[in-house]
């Protein structure tokens, strides 16, 4: 099944990536090439096989529900691309 330019645009929108036209073109070819090679998986009968999401052997690890994080201080904002006092600054959200 061939990947189309339109599919690449739709996936890029889902992934929040703005692609240049030449990137779109290259990725269309790349995804097509890669997924064609990966189509070999469909040859295996997995109708009775349970999926593996992770390989942990001890189940969910629970800890006491106690607050350990220190209150957010200046450190939390130190990497902010834009800030206003104690706040992260972002472009207008509500028109």
């Amino acid at each position: 099944m061939a990947i189309t330019r339109e599919q690449v645009r739709r996936v890029a929108a889902l992934a929040r990536l703005r692609l240049a036209p030449e990137e779109e073109e290259r990725l269309t070819g790349d995804l097509d090439h890669i997924l064609e090679a990966f189509a070999r998986l469909s040859a295996i009968d997995t109708s009775t096989v349970a999926p593996t999401a992770h390989v942990e052997d001890f189940g969910a690890f629970l800890r006491p529900d106690t607050v350990e994080n220190p209150p957010a201080g200046d450190e939390s904002l130190a990497n902010a691309p834009a800030r206003d006092g104690r706040f992260f600054k972002v472009p207008k959200i509500i028109e």
């Binding site: 990947i3 599919q7 690449v8 739709r10 996936v11 890029a12 889902l14 992934a15 929040r16 990536l17 703005r18 692609l19 240049a20 990137e23 990725l27 790349d30 995804l31 090439h33 890669i34 997924l35 090679a37 990966f38 070999r40 998986l41 469909s42 295996i44 997995t46 096989v49 349970a50 999926p51 593996t52 999401a53 992770h54 390989v55 942990e56 052997d57 001890f58 969910a60 690890f61 800890r63 450190e75 939390s76 130190a78 990497n79 902010a80 691309p81 834009a82 992260f88 972002v90 472009p91 207008k92 959200i93």
Partner: protein
């Protein structure tokens, strides 16, 4: 006399503890070596000279006061730039995190420091650990210390190159599909991917969370065991870090391989692999037999599906993990007048080609209409790959294979076709899908003088056996003592 930067990790630490050498002397020797060879190697993204010297002085003061700073006392180590270091920029070799300075140490960083190690810098890698050659770094080129026209392997290429070049005595890498073992093999050093869950990932930048694991690289098996000892064990800050007790890894290294059953998977000796690699690995297997191991053929029949399975699962998880880079709280923000445009332009400007490719592939595999055919299918095949190993381990205590089908390839040789690059991981990737421990160690050189890597794969949480096999092989051979001329 051996130069200070050439000492093993354990000898260097022992000297500091006995007050024969100061930590400051070791750190200065490492910094001098870095200054001398970095123009040719390019392993480091950041050298933390001032911080390292201050930390070394603190260690020396403790030794002078009669305290024991720990098993890694005062020894210079490097850390892959996927792993957070408090106050020192941590970039994932990406433009999007180029100026990111963590507010805290990763658990593995903190544990190395607590064991006495001194961090001399942050090591280059493929962007977000996505790659097999370190050529996907957005921030620098790392060259193989054995041949500057070759790649160091990836994604932890800086870690492999720095250890091989004598710029630090050991390093940390991360391994999602082979990223510790491949650079270890290409650079002629030892690398260990621990069992999934053996080492905490708290403070490690996430790529594919069901596969990622932190592992050490060092110049021999005993130093690798010492590093693992320092970082392994449960961590309340990472719910995937196993509560299983951590054994004393150093205690098994002398035990030898007499009577140990080793499996040789026939799918790992395939047409198209470099003949010298096959010959080197087969010679190593004969050496292990000579030492008393019982070698028998085994089969891992789903091996041929591992690349597809891995690159669907890993990219799906990556597309989710990398959604956090939105330009809001940290990382690159591109100018834009709306929030949506800001996300899209920041990510477009911050991520490199391979990262975008994997985000796109993963988003596609998870999207409505394709989920069952790709992501779910890959998860089902992952079960089959895991069962292959379970079956083999019913008969064998460890498996012996090559790390990669070739030795280090040339810079630029595989960048044009992503699939060709992905095939470099063909012998390492299944191990991550099954969550197993695996050791890479040198077992010879090809005609061009490039190191060949031997892989020893173990049962879950049986790091002891793979280290034991590696140590026995090292005692009988001299490959691990060879150093590149720089």
């Amino acid at each position: 006399m051996t130069a200070l930067h050439e000492l093993s990790l354990r000898d260097a630490a022992a000297r500091v503890r006995r007050r024969e050498t100061s930590s400051v002397e070791l750190v200065r020797a490492a910094l001098e070596r870095i200054a001398a060879v970095e123009p040719a190697v390019g392993a480091f993204l950041t050298v933390t000279e001032a911080e390292a010297l201050a930390a070394a002085q603190a260690i020396d003061r403790r030794v002078a006061a009669g305290e024991d700073p720990g098993p890694l006392a005062g020894v210079p180590v490097g850390i892959k730039d996927m792993i957070c270091t408090k106050g020192v920029r941590t970039t994932a070799a990406s433009r999007i995190l180029e100026r990111f300075v963590p507010a805290y140490d990763a658990t593995v960083t903190a544990r190395l420091r607590a064991a006495g190690a001194v961090v001399v810098g942050k090591l280059n890698c493929d962007e977000f650990a996505m790659g097999s050659s370190t050529e996907n770094s957005a921030l620098g080129t790392t060259r193989n210390p054995w041949d500057g026209s070759r790649v160091p392997g990836g994604s932890s290429g800086g870690s492999g190159a720095a250890v091989a070049a004598g710029e630090c005595h050991a390093a940390l890498g991360t391994d999602t599909g082979g990223s510790v073992r491949l650079p270890a093999a290409f650079c002629g050093v030892v690398g260990l991917k621990p069992t999934y869950g053996r080492v905490s990932r708290y403070g490690v930048i996430a790529y594919a969370s069901s596969l990622d694991q932190v592992g050490p690289l060092a110049r021999d098996v005993a130093d690798t065991a010492l590093m693992l000892q320092a970082i392994a064990g449960h961590d309340a800050a990472d719910s995937t870090a196993s509560p299983r007790p951590v054994p004393a890894y150093g205690a098994v290294l002398e035990q030898g391989v007499l009577g140990l059953r080793l499996g040789l998977p026939r799918e790992y000796f395939v047409e198209g692999m470099q003949p010298e690699v096959e010959a080197g690995v087969r010679a190593a297997v004969r050496e292990l037999e000579r030492l008393g191991a019982v070698v028998e053929p085994v089969s891992l029949p789903h091996t041929e599906y591992a690349i597809a399975t891995y690159y669907l699962i890993a990219t799906a998880e990556a597309s989710s993990n990398l959604a956090r880079y939105d330009g809001i709280r940290y990382g690159l923000r591109a100018p834009a007048d709306s929030l949506g445009a800001m996300y899209e332009t920041s990510r477009a400007a911050g991520f490199g080609t391979e990262v975008k490719r994997r985000i796109m592939l993963g988003t596609y595999a998870l999207s409505a209409g394709y989920y069952d055919a790709y992501y779910l299918k890959a998860q089902q095949v992952r079960t089959l790959i895991r069962r292959d190993f379970e079956q083999a381990f019913q008969r064998c205590e460890a498996l012996v294979t090559p790390v990669a089908p070739t030795t280090a390839f040339r810079l630029g040789e595989k960048v044009a076709d992503p699939l060709t690059m992905y095939l470099s991981d063909i012998f390492t990737i299944s191990v991550n899908l099954a969550g197993l421990p695996s050791l890479a160690l040198p077992c010879g050189f090809d005609g061009a003088g490039l190191p060949i890597g031997l892989q020893v794969i173990g049962r879950p949480f049986d790091e002891e056996t793979v280290l034991r096999v590696g140590a026995a092989y090292e005692r009988a051979t001299e490959w691990h003592g060879k150093r590149p001329r720089l």
